[in-house]
Amino acid sequence: MNLTLYVWRQKNADDKGRMETYQANDISSHMSFLEMLDVVNERLLTDGIEPIAFDHDCREGICGMCSLVINGNPHGPEKGTTVCQLHMRHFKDGDKIYIEPWRAKAFPVIKDLIVDRSAFDRIMQAGGFVSVNTGGTPDANAIPIPKENADTAMDAAQCIGCGACVAACKNASAMLFLAAKVSQYAYLPQGQAERTERVKNMLTQMDLEGFGNCTNFYECEAVCPKEISVKFIAKLNREFLRATVKKP
């Protein structure tokens, strides 16, 4: 198939950036979207043009590195799919495809389609962990956990931290990411000791990073490649209210 690509090109963080048009001809429908970009980049190199910079790593849909907004959809048009798992068969010959980076003040563009997502790391450093003393590995099932809680915690822990929720939110809010990270511990006994401080500290860090506020659009849930539910935002709100009334 032959495609027309409109790609965001930006030399560095200081550059203003602009959309450039490229022809992607003879693209196989079996390719993944990133493989299509690889082919385009090979051709750009041959033509002496700087290849398009984009983030990627595992290409298995689990690392959370790929981050492209395709025709206005973070991770493209397929539900519950990362860009690396999106295949060209979902496009048709002659399609015009807009490729843009995640757009958020807290995710500044480093180059072309690559954004700096270290704000997420700082949110995790503010409380997205469980402090444990070092020592021998505890026995499996030494701490009984109700199946329902373990399942819910695992649903939250599916978050790969890609930032599509921020990219999709009309307010560029990171609330779904934060909600997943707070919830994955709140449902487990291991998370109880630091439960109150965790929500306060992580929320504070998120707000200081310059993400927007959640106003219940639910765009995040619609684009999340791991289909994290907004029920975790409801859980986060409960955690915050609990932490507010609870004495430290």
Binding site: Y6, W8, G17, M19, V69, N71, G72, N73, Y98, E100, R103, A104, K105, A106, R122, Q125, A126, A168, K170, N171, A172, S173, M175, E197, K200, N201, L203, T204, Q205, M206, D207, L208, G210, F211, G212, N213, C214, T215, N216, F217, Y218, E219, E221, A222, V223, S229, V230, K231, I233, A234, K235, L236, N237, R238, F240, L241, T244
Partner: protein
């Protein structure tokens, strides 16, 4: 590592959301009481005017109530503006291709419908409470020694332009409420995936009930279902 002091309740994003919800519920409470009070228009002149007189005579309670609702309304507006400004700042460069998958039009226009509702509230107060926009209402003959609220409302709504303003404003209010009511439940964490879609329907229905309730008054006047006690214009 980060060592920031946790933000205070009203500064934290979830705190602001909770404040919007609490003050919003209070305004909904006021809207309910105001609607029940006003619907006495359908009972008759004596009922509405004696209700209005009772309210006016409870001076201390009236001003206390007005102050509380004013403060709550002010917090709602203030936090609404803060949220809007912060949210705009959070995405300095917008998308060339912008797609909306889930967010309702009501949810995306909360700030603007809110701003228009506020300007309507100002007009409404100038119109019926302070009678600044239509000072002729002050010349209405007294009804058994009481100010004739009943005739004032009918006179007001007999004017097509005024009724149109009320109709538009009430539509915007219903639109604003349709997102607000379901949001309150999410903000307090009282939702789950199975109820959320139903909650959106219930939210729309409640908003519709408010709309029908309020708009029934100008419509009843325009359709002559309710008319001036003298049977015509004063």
């Amino acid at each position: 590592m980060t060592n920031n002091q946790p933000l205070g309740f009203s500064k934290a994003s979830v705190g602001k959301k909770v404040l919007m919800a609490i003050t919003g519920i209070s305004v909904i409470g006021f809207l309910t009481a105001h609607l029940i009070g006003n619907l006495q228009l359908f009972v008759g002149q004596d009922q509405l005017n004696s209700y209005a007189e009772t309210l006016q005579n409870m001076v201390a309670a009236k001003w206390m109530f007005r102050s509380v609702i004013l403060i709550l309304f002010a917090i709602h507006i203030w936090k609404g503006i803060v949220l809007w400004l912060e949210n705009r700042k959070a995405r300095p460069v917008s998308y060339m291709k912008d797609v909306t998958l889930e967010a309702s039009v009501a949810s995306r226009t909360m700030f603007w419908t809110g701003a228009l509702i506020l300007s309507f509230v100002v007009y409404h107060l100038l119109h019926f409470t302070m009678i600044t926009t239509n000072p002729e209402y002050a010349n209405l003959p007294l009804d058994n020694g009481r100010f004739d609220v009943y005739s004032m409302v009918i006179l007001g709504f007999q004017n097509y332009t005024i009724s149109a303003v009320y109709f538009i404003a009430l539509s915007l209010m219903a639109f604003h409420l349709s997102h607000a009511i379901s949001s309150v439940f999410q903000t307090f964490g009282l939702t789950k995936p199975t109820i959320l879609p139903k909650l959106k329907i219930v939210s729309n229905l409640i908003a519709l009930i408010f709309f029908i309730g309020y708009v029934s008054m100008p419509i009843a006047v325009l359709l002559n279902i309710i008319s001036l006690p003298t049977g015509g214009n004063l």
